[in-house]
């Protein structure tokens, strides 16, 4: 198949990259790797992958720095963030910077492959943790700095996120709410947009507070 998703991998651990290569190499087209921020930015700009699998904790500025730099010149490149932790600050940081999804490194390979496909189709990938964080953040955030409409979730978006946080797949979420998978995806996409438009300082304050729980 020549239309396989072109994936670029950024992680500073050789063993982890080797593991990802072995696990997903047959399903996507791996077109390059980098182990630090500067090299990643340069190579991604040069090779223009469909999806970048990006470690959140990267020497030289973190995953966030890569997303911000690449999006300035190549807004079509999609990012899927990977991390060992799901600390609220990390999650919010990369998603706010523009990542289309966030998964932990404990993810199974078939789930990772499915997540890469989703992101390459411009859909958002919400793990249960991420869905929980977004619900928590939007419950706590003061809507003062953004339009009310943007700062709050609709009842339906909330229902969708709650089901995802409970471990439902998009398909199961659609079945539970009697809506199509496409509709679930569009709700999740609009939640992601709201998160990216939300006031950054507010999110940081929320994350710091959340860290204490």
């Amino acid at each position: 198949m020549s239309d396989r998703t072109r994936v670029f991998l950024v992680d500073d651990h050789d063993l982890f990259r080797a593991g990802v290569r072995a696990e997903i190499g047959d399903h996507v087209e791996l077109i390059g790797e980098a182990d630090a921020v500067d090299a990643a930015i340069e190579l991604i700009r040069e090779r223009e992958p469909d999806v970048v699998l990006l470690d959140v904790h990267l020497p030289g500025g973190g995953g966030r720095a890569v997303i911000e730099a690449v999006r300035e010149t190549h807004p079509d490149v999609r990012f899927l963030a990977l991390s060992v932790s799901d600390a609220p600050q990390d999650v919010v940081d990369v998603v706010h910077a523009g990542a289309r999804g966030y998964v932990t490194k404990a993810i199974r390979s078939e789930e990772l492959i499915a997540a890469i496909e989703k992101v390459s189709n411009d859909d958002a990938v919400f793990s249960p943790k991420l869905a929980g964080f977004v619900l928590d953040a939007f419950t706590t955030l003061a809507p003062a700095d953004v339009d009310d409409e943007l700062a709050s979730l609709t009842a339906r978006e909330r229902e969708v996120l709650q089901l995802i946080a409970r471990g439902y797949t998009y398909r199961e979420t659609g079945e539970a709410l009697f809506i199509s998978v496409k509709t679930v995806e569009s709700h999740v996409g609009s939640v992601l947009r709201k998160l990216q438009l939300a006031n950054r300082n507010e999110l940081t304050r929320w994350a710091a507070k959340r860290e204490l729980i």
Binding site: D136, R166, I213
Partner: protein
């Protein structure tokens, strides 16, 4: 509530080798009702870890102004909740009994695609940070 739930989940993880993924929204001080809810959730997670035959159990907890919910979900073999009342006192007593004595309710949905235990506890206590 979240602290107690986290402790229970990680204890079960260690003992059973089954991964327990906890997602929490909001929190609440531990009162009698909260303790009962966490206890019932703990039993539910343990049942899932023991009987469902899965590698992972998902737990979602949410607390708002007047209610607390915990959902315990696995993608295991499932069972018929109405047919096990006699031999599985675990569910009857430690989950349902505990919840109902404190004004809560339990709903169990199970099929070949897995099981979800839904625990609801309406409360009057004030949440930790008055959201």
């Amino acid at each position: 509530m979240i602290g107690a739930l986290e402790a229970a989940c990680s204890e079960i993880e260690k003992r059973s080798g089954v991964a327990v993924e906890l997602v929490a929204v909001g929190d609440r001080d531990l009162g009698e009702q909260t303790r009962a809810l966490v206890g019932a959730a703990r039993e539910s997670v343990m049942n899932a870890a023991r009987h469902a035959g899965v590698e992972k159990v998902s737990v979602y907890a949410e607390a708002d102004g007047d209610s607390m919910w915990i959902f315990v979900r696995d993608r295991g073999v499932g069972f018929d909740p109405s047919s096990v009342a006699a031999d599985r006192r675990g569910i009857a007593e430690s989950v349902r009994g505990r919840m109902e004595r404190h004004g809560g309710s339990v709903e169990i949905v199970s099929s070949g695609a897995g099981t979800e235990v839904r625990l609801l506890m309406p409360v009057e206590e004030i949440p930790i940070d008055e959201r």
